[in-house]
Symmetry: none
Subunit: 430 residues, 2 copies
């Protein structure tokens, strides 16, 4: 695919952004470079043309070489990694040296480091202090959850360099809270590229793709599908002079998509299944508890990821062992003996039990064979039973996710499937 920004490039006056990731662990193939992908997506959102990504090791000579190349080729260089306290974290010094600029110790950073250090009495170690040195004249990009701050610095005309740590969560927070705003306020953000993401559950990527063939060939906005374990994403991306214009392009496609797919579409952009369930229950002022066997607390931990979830989530029982199913959830022993722990009868009894014990409106239960062992001809690995008990709802169902799936996938698919059916059950309820 050739993007219009690439067609319009003029090699005479350099513009656009490059990403430079520093870390020998990437070159050794020990970790996947997800930072580049995340930053690339953010640049697209800001409409900043992006032509090149580079990865090099923690090596001063090669780092300086790469920085110089980029400064002659592009308007913006975004770097990750190589900050931090250890001797191999050499980025800031190399950047300063590359542009013959001295480092200065910044007191505001020292104070911040001191506040962040658990032990308030003893002095900061030399390696900690190193993180307070930045090139003279550089703006600071504050690091909220970690220690090493980044910089926003224009060492020469028509070239700005931004530095971030390699830890993804720190990078993302620093970008959202400060870096993106700096890029915009310094007029480095060009034509707007907006996109809207729709999330789907209970449908495969190819089935969805077949339903929306005619949209997938659209040029502006473009429509693309992405599959991940248990869910599918559709991204609508539009390019235009303003976000009003791009949104006007996106809206009708979004509307058509949701009309075609109906309830299969559960959320927009960053919405998660658990968030939707939370909102639905909050609106109904109803509560829920979980009874989990093979998911071992996975549904509960998803629901509690949401701030304020205590308003709807009372808790649950992780009934991993059969005796717990009996003693805590009141599942009759004979049901387990007759039908087995992985059966409609047992999950229904688990759901009824937790609903009564926890005095909640809704209960959801799961019992299955996550594997790799424990499967049989009649009950293979990947077989999972579910039950949802609501004020006027009682549904039990069985899924066979397939014996070829990993234990991790079967657990993940079980959690997603449970949350999606719960979402539908609440929507359907009276």
């Amino acid at each position: 695919m050739k993007t219009s920004k690439e067609i319009t490039i003029n090699k005479k006056n350099k513009f656009g952004a490059e990403i430079l990731c520093i870390g020998s662990e990437i070159l050794l193939g020990n970790i996947v470079n997800t930072n580049s992908q995340w930053i690339a997506a953010q640049l697209a959102i800001l409409g900043i043309p992006h032509f090149r990504q580079t990865v090099i090791g923690d090596n001063p000579a090669r780092l300086e070489e790469a920085i110089l190349e980029a400064s002659n080729r592009s308007e913006i260089l975004i770097t990750t990694g190589g900050l931090g306290p250890t001797p191999d974290d050499i980025k800031t010094k190399v950047i300063a040296d590359t542009f013959k600029t001295p480092l200065e110790q910044r007191n505001d950073i020292l104070i911040d480091l001191r506040n962040k250090s658990k032990d308030k009495v003893s002095k900061l170690s030399e390696s900690q202090k190193k993180q307070s040195l930045v090139p003279k004249g550089a703006k600071i990009i504050n690091n909220y959850s970690g220690t090493a701050p980044g910089i926003f610095w224009s060492p020469k005309e028509n070239f700005t360099i931004l530095t971030f740590p390699g830890v993804p969560s720190e990078l993302k927070e620093m970008w959202a809270k400060e870096a993106s705003k700096l890029l915009i306020s310094n007029n480095l953000s060009k034509e707007v590229i907006s996109s809207k993401v729709l999330h789907f559950a209970g449908i495969t990527e190819s089935l969805l793709a077949d339903k929306i063939q005619h949209l997938l060939i659209s040029k502006n906005p473009t429509v693309a599908t992405y599959a991940s374990t248990g869910s599918v994403k559709v991204r609508i991306t539009a390019r235009g002079k303003s976000s009003e214009k791009t949104n006007r392009l996106i809206e009708p496609i979004k509307k058509e998509l949701t009309q075609i797919t109906g309830l299969k579409c559960f959320g927009l952009d960053n919405e998660t299944l658990e968030e939707i369930v939370f909102k639905l229950l909050l609106k109904r002022k109803e509560t829920i508890a979980v009874a989990e066997s093979c998911t071992g607390g996975g549904i509960g931990s998803k629901l509690t990821k949401i701030p304020g979830s205590s308003q709807i989530f009372h808790g649950g029982v992780i009934a991993y062992n059969n005796s717990i199913k009996q003693r805590l959830l009141g599942v009759p022993e004979e049901i387990i003996n007759t039908h087995g722990a992985v059966s409609k009868q047992v999950v229904e009894s688990m759901a009824r039990g937790v609903q009564i014990k926890f005095k909640v409106n809704w209960a959801i239960s799961v019992s299955g064979i996550a594997g790799p062992t424990g499967g049989s001809k009649s009950k293979p690995v990947g077989l999972v039973n579910f039950c949802i008990k609501g004020p006027k709802t009682l549904i039990t169902w069985e899924e066979n996710f397939g014996s070829n799936k990993t234990r991790e996938d079967i657990q993940k698919l079980s959690v997603l499937n449970a949350l999606d059916r719960l979402r539908l059950s609440i929507i359907m309820a009276n």
Copy 2:
């Protein structure tokens, strides 16, 4: 981290390999570049030094520029993407043009394409035929599951270029069946590079770095630290003529590291905290249950990720709501009223309660303020109380992870901290 191969580089006689991935979808952030990581790992196995990774779009000018740069810098260039039948697949032609070499049509490829095409009667389309053109003198890397073959070609002295399609499965098969053998038979495979990873908990990266300063400057093996939320990794990487030799280099450093850090080091390579806890309990033939408030089932779901965890894990209570702490775990109401749900008294009572109810040897409980709301001056967001009750063990402790942390981080840190203290408690137990 600085690898010794990087120190021994001599910019006069270029050596080592680079990876060049072609595809605008990577630059747009639509897909993660997993090919680079996979190839990097293969290069390490073959002992081929690897210094740089680049990504560019489907753009002839920039592609030629990147190929030329690499040919002056490195001995090997491995490229992915830009093959295939569509008009934007321009790689092979650009490579030939870059080194002023004509393309020739290869009959063996034509025959292969014909055999692969579903429809045996009608002629191959022009776009299909395009895939049979390769630079004069290039070897072919056959594509077994896809159509477009790759090439193995030395267009100039001391420079070899390998091309692959962007489809990971095709790339991997072509590498395993042909490319790796070609690299070895052409003496491009140098020394062996092996590494060992040590995992640490309960210590910060900078504190650890200060303890092992003298090791961090070692050249072969090299030693480097990596931080992630709640844990730290140390990688020891050695290079030598054989894996026996590299292991002999790694062992003493590994031994010294574990001596310096003692119990802070919890595992090797791919071992996880929950796995260690599982193994420790299995060895003692003891069982465990959890009582989780702010982690909402996170500890349970970690423990159940391990195959066979049912041998040690009986389950637990997600006591998110105070009434559940009372009714299911028997926490006296007055304790909650006097000390608050987040207190040593409550977590101890939760642990005792779940240990009795679940008839297990070990119990672990957590109650804290994950935020973003619900904090107070005396009990800020990030404050978490824990208790571990064992056959002869009773410890309660409090952590303050900091109000600057996200809800997600506080929950994650709580789970890791709980599992790590559990590991230590079991080790310490008689």
